[in-house]
């Protein structure tokens, strides 16, 4: 079973509403789905579309080929008709526009008219969901339940939507009831329907993050929205800062004062935070920064995806100080990986940057519930017995990590942090000897930090001849490419990095000595991970498969490139 749906229209026509209702309905019905968004940086007009793929196992990617096209406007049909399968069908608003005479795949549903009859134009999307359910051979009960939940406290609205849903269902049924029947899964265990930003927000909450200060910036804003929605239900404060400079400095103040803190942004905002990043390194105050990448330079493509900021983020900040840079291969991985980011930040008293991207942030998947017992929560604060009095914030130790206490916790003891070079007490110094000791103290943390970096995921042939190397959100698509290459008889494998810095090298070195061909697959124009690998290990990756049009890879693109070059 593999059904691919595309819903398209202008910004402001409410694609998100359709997809959320449809997605959640399908997941509750026991199907596995992925839902991706392609949207423009505008609030009205233009062309936005979403893809949803239904399968018996959660798909890693969406398909180019469309089985069911929902055209909220004529433009959607014009743009996507070439990708419609010969057996495909088009739900279109026949009250607003007509398809060409030669087009015989149309399913006319007067979305807007039926919505108005049910109570309002705004419910056109609900009519479309009803029509889709009919064509998938499903009933409307589950969607009806969801509408009641979504509009709890507004019974009238729920009722009207339910009428709209059934109206769409009825009309589409008269044209092609169950023309794309989806077979029910036996496994009816509860699954979540959730996007990347929501996973990160939930992971922050579950890691004890109590303060998020950020300035809204696509595609990271969903993390802010998620945590803000928990205000009052959990003791977490979300503050919209006046700018990104304030955001990172607020978070550092809260972290210094003892609470787990975080900020989130995209590349442009992170540029403004860089001085604060350096401050975190100097004052050795834990901080987690989520950077959701989008194509740059400057404002770039605000709502598109890229992996163009790796080099920047690994090296950002004046001066030398330790940091960790992590990303995740999947939504599942992201939940535990962000928890690890918080743990590393506290344990090593360093800034930890978590790299996300638009593709990951905005993609919904059906997921198993998370295993909360796997989460680590340890603040690594010193007890009163651990510290020498008077307390010194930067006591020199073998590991470079000084005992840290919460200001105001122990009577008579004060905590002084300083962005100037400082002595063990935190006071400004200028003498060379103390400076040298403090630089060495900070950099020493890299030894134990490096040992905490996970080796990249290996998938595919255990003795590969052909190795595809990637990082982060390209996991799913490279994995599909490896499957396709294996089906073509190639001994192919994928090596996908999650922990990026300090760069884990062991598995990479051992594999590189065995393979005949190595490819880096990256959503950027220079092959930034390949460069870092070269700088850190001397290893040269033979080939680069790069994509920088702001869109995620498809597995076909990768397979074609590999075949061309092997």
């Amino acid at each position: 079973m593999d059904v691919n749906i595309l819903v398209g229209g202008a910004a402001g026509q409410g694609m998100d509403t359709v997809m959320n209702l449809l997605g959640k309905t399908l997941v509750r019905e026991g199907f596995r789905i992925i839902y991706t968004k392609d949207y423009m940086s505008r609030v009205r007009g233009g062309h936005n579309f979403s893809r949803l793929r239904i399968s018996s196992q959660t798909p890693w990617t969406t398909n180019e080929t469309i089985d069911l096209l929902v055209a909220l406007n004529k433009e959607t049909y014009d743009i996507h008709r070439s990708n419609l399968a010969p057996s495909g069908r088009i739900i279109y608003d026949s009250g607003l526009f007509q398809l060409p005479d030669e087009e015989d795949r149309g399913v006319p549903v007067e979305l807007e008219k039926l919505a108005v009859e049910a109570g309002g134009k705004i419910m056109s999307n609900t009519v479309a969901v009803g029509a889709l359910l009919a064509m998938l051979g499903l009933e409307t009960e589950v969607a009806g339940e969801l509408l009641v939940e979504m509009f709890s406290g507004k019974e009238g609205v729920a009722e009207e939507n339910s009428t709209a849903l059934k109206a769409g269902y009825k009309v589409a049924s008269s044209h092609c009831r169950a023309c794309f029947p989806v077979t029910r899964r036996a496994d009816n265990s509860k699954k979540m329907f959730i996007d990347g930003n929501q996973v990160l927000g939930m992971a922050a909450l579950a890691s004890g993050c109590r303060f998020l200060s950020a300035y809204p910036m696509t595609p990271s804003t969903g993390v802010m929205n998620y945590l803000a929605s928990k205000n009052g239900k959990f003791p977490v404060v979300v503050e919209q800062a006046e700018d990104e400079i304030a955001a990172i400095n607020m978070a550092l103040g809260a972290s210094y004062a003892g609470v787990r803190s975080m900020t989130c942004t995209s590349g442009g905002g992170f540029s403004l935070m860089v001085e604060g990043l350096s401050l975190a390194g100097m004052i050795e105050t834990p901080l987690v920064i989520i950077v959701a990448m989008r194509p740059g330079p400057a404002t770039g493509l605000p709502t598109r995806t890229e992996q163009g900021d790796l080099n920047f983020i690994v090296h950002a900040g004046h001066g030398e100080f330790p940091r960790a840079v992590l990303c995740a291969t999947s939504h599942e991985d992201a939940f535990y990986r962000l928890n690890k980011a918080f743990d590393l930040a506290d344990r090593f008293q360093i800034p930890v940057i978590y790299l996300s991207d638009q593709h990951f942030a905005d993609t919904h998947r059906s997921l198993e519930p998370f295993d909360y017992n796997r989460l680590v929560y340890n603040r690594y604060f010193a007890t009163e017995q651990d510290i020498e009095k008077p307390y010194r914030r930067y006591t020199l130790t073998d590991s470079g990590i000084s005992p840290r206490i919460i200001p105001g916790k122990f009577s008579g003891e004060v905590v002084l942090v300083d962005s100037d070079e400082h002595d063990q007490d935190g006071h400004i110094i200028e003498d060379g000897q103390t400076r040298k000791k403090m630089v060495e103290k900070r950099m020493k943390k890299n030894i134990a930090l490096s040992a905490e970096m996970d080796e990249p995921d290996l998938y595919g042939d255990p003795q590969p001849e052909l190795l595809l190397i990637g990082w982060g959100s390209t996991y799913g698509v490279i994995r599909e490419a490896v499957d396709a290459l294996s089906a073509l008889g190639k001994k192919a494998a994928m090596l996908q990095f999650s922990d990026l810095w300090p760069l884990p090298q062991k598995r990479l070195k051992s594999l590189m000595s065995q393979v005949d061909y190595s490819f880096c697959v990256e959503n950027n124009v220079t092959g930034q991970l390949a460069e870092i690998i070269h700088r850190e290990t001397g290893l040269v990756i033979d080939q680069k498969i790069l994509k920088y049009d702001g869109r995620p890879f498809s597995s076909n693109e990768i397979v074609e490139e590999v075949e061309k070059r092997v």
Binding site: S213, P235, A246, E275, S419
Partner: protein
């Protein structure tokens, strides 16, 4: 019980005669008289001569980046509402580099006291104009004299809705100390713009220049915004000192009900308590 000397922690790097000395003494005396132990107080600062205060007064200290004294102070207020948070920085740090934070934190109204050492010149970088330099002041950069009007921090903060607006002068230490005590005890954002001669780089606004001009007006109603505005705008032959405006409003942290009680920083946490958050997505 702490005495003022107990707060004096280190030799300073200030020039002899610097207005900062009296501000430091006033602060130490103020903390002692308020019976605040060093571990209950946090001083946040940016960069500059004034911003060295966390090194010279023994309390908790966050000596951060230039212009960025307020944001960490706000973060600390949220993390631990029991800390008495004081922000100390200069005019360049606060009104220039940190202007955006100045504006928006007055709007937020966090419970902190903001003491600006306003010497109307850049000291640490050796004598350039600051946002509060009077027009006409000649410097190595403003060679033809400062050509733009001075920023008036008091009228600006009144317009933005600050609940406590005062001007002090480091040459009037007793008045400064008493005003600091009121500012620290005030619920919400409290600003004291402290006039402070810079003996090395400001040859215009000297001790004698201030001594000839400062006076203490009679302020009948500290809740009268229009009267406060008139005083805030008085500058030239006569310069008024005092608490021009004092009128508390809801503070930033009081809008988060769950911050009441045990400070966030001291609360326990178990990840399992948050697993219920998954229910939104089934």
């Amino acid at each position: 019980m702490f005495k003022a000397e107990d707060y004096m922690s280190k030799d300073t790097a200030w020039c002899p005669g610097c207005g900062n000395f009296k501000i430091r003494e006033a602060l130490a005396e103020c903390l002692a008289e308020l019976k605040l132990s060093p571990d209950q107080v946090l001083i946040c600062s940016g960069i500059g001569q004034a911003a060295k205060m966390p090194h010279y007064i023994k309390t908790n200290g966050f000596n951060g980046l230039h212009g960025r004294a307020l944001p960490p102070a706000l973060g600390a207020c949220i993390a631990n509402r029991k800390l008495k948070v004081i922000v100390e920085s200069g005019d360049g740090d606060t009104y220039g580099e940190g202007g955006n934070h100045f504006i928006h934190n007055i709007r937020r109204n966090p419970d902190l006291a903001h003491f600006i050492h306003n010497n109307q010149v850049y000291g640490l970088t050796k004598g350039q104009a600051s946002p509060t330099s009077d027009p006409g002041m000649v410097t190595g950069v403003q060679t033809g004299g400062v050509a733009i009007p001075a920023l008036n921090p008091l009228s600006l903060s009144l317009v933005l809705g600050a609940g406590f607006v005062a001007r002090c002068y480091s040459g009037e230490k007793e008045h400064l100390k008493e005003t600091m005590k009121e500012a620290i005890s005030f619920s919400g954002y409290a600003l004291i713009d402290i006039l402070q001669p810079c003996v090395s780089f400001n040859k215009v606004n000297t001790y004698s220049w201030y001594n000839e001009r400062v006076y203490f007006p009679t302020i009948k109603d500290q809740k009268n915004w229009s009267d406060a505005m008139k005083l805030a705008r008085e500058w030239g032959d006569k310069i008024p000192l005092g608490i021009f405006y004092k009128n508390p409003r809801e503070t930033f942290t009081s809008s988060f009900k769950f911050l009441e009680g045990e400070p966030l920083a001291f609360r326990s946490f178990d990840p399992l308590d948050t697993s219920v958050a998954q229910d939104d997505f089934f």
